[in-house]
C-alpha cells in the first residue's frame, strides 16, 4: 500500500513536470526568450516540489501512525493483562500482528484475537489516512506550483537551490552515519572501561587476554583483558604481509609502467587486478587448506616446527591479497609522472634504470607512500584470512612460525561465541575502537607525509 502511494507520488510529480513545462511554454506565447527560466526548469521546479511534499508527508504520517498504533495496542494489552511482564506483552503484540498479516495461521487466545482484529482495523485506517493526506498534499503542491509559474518567475534559481540542498542532504547522511558509528564505538568502549573499573592501563598494556573465562555474573576481570598479545599478532601479520606485498607490488608497477610492452601490459594489468576481485574468504581457505600444509611439510623437511596455523601463512596470503592495491595505485602515480621528466633524463644519457630510480620514483614517492599505508590499513583490518589461518590462542610471540591471534579474530570469536551479547560486546567494542584509532592515526600520518613531499616537489 505504502509502495503504491510512493510510486503514485512519483507519477504525480512527473505529470506536474510536464504540466509546468507546458504552462511555461504557453505563457511565453511563442517568444521563449521572454521567460526568465527555460521551460524545463519550470517543470523541474514543479516536479521537485510535488516530490518533496508527497514523500515528506508520507514519511511523517507513516511514522506518526506507526507510533500511534503501537501506543494503542500496548494500552489495550496492559489493560487486559496488567500482571504480564513487558516482554510477554511485546510477545502478545507481535503475535497479534503476525496473525493480522497472515504470517501466523491461528491463535486460540482471545486477547491475541481481539488485539489482532484491532490492529487490522488500525492498519486500514492508517492506509486510508496516508493515501488521502499524501496524495491530497501532492495535488495541492502541484496546483500551487503551477499557479506560481509566470514569465518572470525564477524557476531555475529555485529548482537549482532545491537540488543543491538535496545533494547536501545526501552528503550529510554519509557524514552522520560516520559520526553515529564513531559515537556508538566511543560509548560502548566507555561502558566496557567502566565495567573493568577504569583500568584502561590493564587493557592497553596487559599481557593476558581471556576476557570471558570465569565470567558468570557479567563481571569482567581487569587482569584478563590485556590486549597486547592481540595487537602484537596483528602487527606481526601485517609486517609479514607488507614484506610480501610492497616489493612485489612496487616492482610490478614499475615493470608495468616503464618496461612492459603495451601487449604485455594489456595482459598483466587485468590479471593483477583480478587478484583484487577474489573474495577474502577464498584467500582464507586457500591459506588454511593449501599454504599451511605445504609450509608445514617444508618446515618438517628442514627440521623446523611449524604450527598448522601460523602468522607466516596468514601474513603471506594477506600480502598476496594486498599486491593489487599497491601495484595498481603505484602504477597510477608512476604513470602520472610527466613524460617530460623522463625525456629530460633520457636526453642526458641516463638509462631506464637510472631514470626510474633517480627521477621517476622520487617524484612518485608521495603516492607510493600513501599506497603502502592504504595497503597497511587493509592488512590491519583484514579478518577472514586470519580467522582461518592465524589461530585463536592469544600467544605473545615474535616467532612467525607460531600461531598468533589478531584483534579482528578475537572480535569475531567474541561476537559469534555463545556468551551473552551484552557481556561479550564490551571487549569487542573496545578492541574495535582501538583498531579504529590506530587506522585513523595511520591515515593522518600518511596524509602528512604526502603533504610534506608534495610541497617539496611541486
Amino acid at each position: 500500500m505504502i509502495a503504491i502511494v510512493f510510486i503514485t507520488v512519483l507519477v504525480l510529480a512527473s505529470v506536474a513536470f510536464l504540466m509546468g513545462r507546458r504552462r511555461a511554454i504557453v505563457l511565453a506565447a511563442g517568444q521563449p526568450a521572454k521567460l526568465h527560466s527555460r521551460p524545463n526548469y519550470h517543470g523541474m521546479y514543479c516536479f521537485l516540489m510535488v516530490l518533496l511534499v508527497g514523500w515528506g508527508l508520507l514519511l511523517v504520517v507513516g511514522v506518526g501512525a506507526e507510533i500511534a498504533i503501537d501506543r494503542m495496542l500496548e494500552t489495550q494489552v496492559s489493560v487486559a493483562r496488567p500482571e504480564a511482564s513487558s516482554v510477554e506483552r511485546q510477545l502478545i503484540i507481535s503475535d497479534a500482528r503476525a496473525l493480522a498479516t497472515g504470517a501466523l495461521a491461528s491463535a486460540d487466545d482471545s486477547l491475541r484475537q481481539s488485539v489482532s482484529e484491532r490492529f487490522a482495523r488500525f492498519v486500514m485506517w492508517r492506509n486510508w489516512a496516508i493515501s488521502l493526506l499524501v496524495l491530497g498534499g501532492a495535488l495541492v503542491a502541484a496546483a500551487l506550483c503551477l499557479r506560481r509559474i509566470s514569465v518572470s518567475f525564477r524557476a531555475r534559481n529555485r529548482a537549482e537551490s532545491m537540488l543543491r540542498k538535496m545533494l547536501a542532504a545526501m552528503a550529510l547522511i554519509a557524514v552522520l552515519t560516520t559520526v553515529g558509528i564513531v559515537l556508538s564505538l566511543v560509548f560502548e568502549t566507555f561502558g566496557f572501561f567502566r565495567d573493568i573499573g577504569w583500568r584502561v592501563d590493564k587493557f592497553l598494556f596487559g599481557l593476558n587476554w581471556s576476557p570471558l573465562s570465569g565470567v558468570m555474573d557479567g563481571q569482567l576481570d581487569p587482569d584478563r583483558v590485556g590486549a597486547v598479545p592481540l595487537f602484537a599478532g596483528t602487527f606481526l601479520i601485517t609486517l609479514i604481509a607488507m614484506f610480501v606485498a610492497v616489493p612485489v607490488g612496487l616492482f610490478a608497477a614499475i615493470y608495468l609502467s616503464d618496461f612492459a610492452s603495451s601487449r604485455a601490459r594489456a595482459i598483466v594489468k587485468p590479471m593483477l587486478e583480478l587478484l583484487a576481485g577474489i573474495p577474502t574468504v577464498v584467500y582464507g581457505f586457500f591459506a588454511a587448506l593449501t599454504v599451511a600444509p605445504a609450509l608445514r611439510n617444508t618446515g618438517e623437511t628442514l627440521g623446523l616446527t611449524v604450527a598448522s596455523e601460523s602468522a607466516l601463512v596468514a601474513g603471506v596470503v594477506m600480502g598476496i591479497m594486498i599486491i593489487p592495491f599497491i601495484s595498481s595505485l603505484s602504477d597510477d602515480v608512476i604513470n602520472a609522472v610527466p613524460q617530460a621528466l623522463r625525456d629530460g633524463s633520457y636526453g642526458l644519457g641516463a638509462t631506464r634504470a637510472e631514470t626510474i630510480r633517480q627521477v621517476v620514483l622520487p617524484a612518485a614517492l608521495p603516492g607510493i607512500v600513501s599506497a603502502v599505508l592504504l595497503g597497511m590499513s587493509r592488512a590491519i583490518g583484514e579478518t577472514m584470512i586470519v580467522v582461518m589461518a592465524a589461530g585463536q590462542g592469544p600467544n605473545l610471540t615474535a616467532n612467525p612460525l607460531a600461531a598468533v591471534t589478531t584483534v579482528t579474530v578475537q572480535i569475531v570469536s567474541l561476537i559469534t561465541g555463545d556468551t551473552e551479547a551484552s557481556t561479550a560486546a564490551g571487549p569487542a567494542f573496545a578492541l574495535g575502537f582501538t583498531l579504529f584509532c590506530i587506522t585513523l592515526l595511520m591515515n593522518v600520518f600518511a596524509q602528512k607525509i604526502v603533504h610534506r613531499f608534495r610541497e617539496a616537489y611541486d
Binding site: 629530460g344 636526453g347 642526458l348 644519457g349 616537489y457
Partner: protein, 265 residues
Amino acid sequence: MNEIRDVTALKDTKKVKISAQNVQVYYGDNHAIRDVNVDIDDKTVTAFIGPSGCGKSTFLRCLNRMNDTIDICRVTGTILMDGRDIYAPDVDPVLLRARVGMVFQKPNPFPKSIFDNVAYGPRIHGLAANKAELEHIVEKSLKRAALWDEVKDRLSASGTGLSGGQQQRLCIARAIATSPEVLLMDEPASALDPIATAQIEELIDELRSKFSVVIVTHSMQQAARVSQKTAFFHLGSLVEYGETGQIFTNPQDPRTESYITGRIG
C-alpha cells in the same frame, strides 16, 4: 652584428659535425619525414623552421635517438656524427645522448635541488672523480648558462621553485654539464616571456663557441637573430637549407618565400 656573425660562421663551417643522408621517419604507417639530407656544421647555430607538424622536432629527435623511446617510431637512412653512423648496431644510444645534449620546449627540471639537477648527468656518467670536481662542473655549467649569479646562494633549493626562464637556463646548464658536442634545443623559448627569451637567445649565441647548436623554433625572428644556418621544413620534407641571411632575404624555393612572408604555415 649579423654581418660579423656571418663572417665567423663562414670561417667555422669547414667542419661538418652531423651529416644526415636520405633520412626517413615513420610513425606506424605515417611517413613523417621524407628524404632529408642535411649537413650540420660544428660551432654553428643551425635553426630548423617550418609550420607546426612539418617534422622539424621529429628530425631533431633523430639526432640523439630520442625517437628510440617511442615504440612505433622507425628511422631509416644514415646519420653520421664525426663520420660515424649513430644508428649503427654497436652504438649505445645512452652514450650517444651524453654527447648530444637536449633542451626541451617546456622547462623540465627534476624535482631535486638545483645542484642535483646540474650534477645529474656528470654523476650518472662518472665525470667527476670527487665532490670538489663535481662542484666545479656544476659551477662552470651554471656560469655558462648565465644562471650562477642568481642561484649561487641557494643551490640546495628545489629546481622546480625557479621562474620559467631560470628553469630553462637550469635545463641548459644540466645539458651542458655532461660536456656534449652538440646541443639540440626544441623550441627552448616558446614557453617563456620576452625578457627570458632574450636571455636564452643571448646564451645560445655564446654557446656556439663551444658546441654545435641545433634549434627548432616557431619564431622566424628568433631564427634570424640566433642562427647562422637555417633549414626550412614543410610537410615532412626539407625544402631549403642554407645561410640564414640568404634564406630570409633571398629564398630559392617559392614555398620558403611563402612561409617567410606569412602566406603558409
